[in-house]
Symmetry: C2
Subunit: 259 residues, 2 copies
């Protein structure tokens, strides 16, 4: 008999040993042949990075006494590329990334390794979804995992437009406190940041990035607002960064060659 | 007398010792007080990465027997954040990134450290420009540097819309073979990639990413097409990744909560 179960690639940026990817893997096993290929350790805020100057290595990883998947000494985007091109025997039907510990909304979207993994899947022509749980504390991934199964099923039924991925942020609340689902846009919220300057035991200076997120939106169709208001926020994401509304304005500059 | 020269932050992703940043620094000295803060070594294809799990360190760097600026053990985005928040005494009037060795067009824009540095400047509310020379070989940066002076002057005169940066790609040709300037959009070209599997002296496998860029556009208002046709390509870039054309389509899915 031919294998007809869909092939689902599961990855993340918190690393192959994180609790969130275990929950996502279990959720995807209900839907098909789930295969984990993920960074060996945490790779948060890596943006859409690729490893081009170093070799990549791959290890088999066990969890709870069972074969769990593969670890890679690379970024989330590396994992997706390497999984599709070298580890799996065929192109996956779906790429899922997460479940991230902490939200990926507003400006965080551009720093997010979770989103970049799903972006890489989309670039490779595979329907892809990024899942994040909006809490940095130890969390209960149970509802988020059930929502992942629910949405992944819909995406495999309906497909996604070419070049579009879904960025999903789930409130860290018990299911009965979640009010529903909203289709959202990326917020404008960013960080108010500073660097803590410290001195190491060798008397040399070093700096740590610190800061807090500024909430700059209040419309309820914005990703981080929807999550605060207890909705699952689903934002369709694409990667043409052209600022189309500014194109004509720039043409009016009549930029010639330098004199 | 009060210091009235504009403060210009110069950074890149090829590292503080690259030839391109030296050319850009010299070009910006004609326009104001140019200050270099750049990665200590090459950080290509780092995407919009931030260093959050490690401390950042800063060194003073000399080139050609003169004080050149500061090196940071971080990404291009780290350099911009750290420069603005901790190294310079005030907010720069302009951030310039480059001159990159190699084009940052089409899909490369999302992997580009050069572009991410300019993006970080824009997030911090500073007009920002990324410059790339479309050649990976040892190149003559002379025309590109003169173009950088020309455009930087225009940007400081006209300003840029809030949230918009300029991504500039310059053909690697003598000036008399360059036909002019085009305002462009980001192309759809991506890579056809594979991994070379090799065996190290300890008999362990490793993988190198390899591949070639696919040219998928032919309209002359697309970044990489314009460069091939011998124009300087200027693409306005923004970082709201929402796929607005898909929002309504997703609403029709009527996604409820999982059963």
């Amino acid at each position: 008999m031919r294998e007809t179960k869909p092939l689902i690639l599961v990855t993340n940026d918190d690393g192959v040993h994180a609790p969130g990817i275990y929950a996502l893997y279990q959720a995807m096993r209900d839907l098909g042949n789930a295969q984990v290929v993920a960074p060996e350790s945490e790779r948060s805020a890596v943006g859409h990075a690729l490893t081009i100057s170093d070799p990549l290595r791959v290890w088999a990883v066990d969890r709870y006494g069972e074969n769990f998947g593969h670890a890679v000494n690379g970024t989330p985007a590396d994992c997706v590329k390497l999984a599709v091109k070298s580890i799996l025997n065929k192109k996956p039907d779906l790429v899922v990334s997460g479940i991230n510990q902490g939200p990926n909304t507003a400006i965080n979207v551009i720093y997010s390794g979770t989103v970049s993994a799903a972006t890489e899947g989309t670039i490779m022509g595979i329907p892809s979804i990024a899942f994040s749980l909006a809490s940095f504390r130890i969390s209960d991934f149970d509802f988020a995992a059930r929502f992942a199964t629910h949405l992944a099923k819909k995406v495999m039924e309906n497909g996604l437009p070419d070049g579009t991925l879904l960025n999903v942020n789930i409130p860290a609340l018990p299911e009965d406190q979640i009010l529903g689902v909203k289709i959202t846009r990326q917020g404008k919220g960013r960080y108010e940041e500073y660097f803590e300057k410290r001195v190491d035991p060798m008397n040399r200076n070093y700096y740590w990035l610190a800061g807090k997120k500024l909430q700059l939106d209040n419309e309820s169709d914005v990703d981080d607002v929807a999550v605060l208001e207890r909705y699952v926020a689903i934002t369709p994401i694409q990667f043409d960064l052209t600022d189309y509304k500014v194109l004509d304005q720039l043409k009016e500059w009549n930029l010639g060659m330098p004199e």
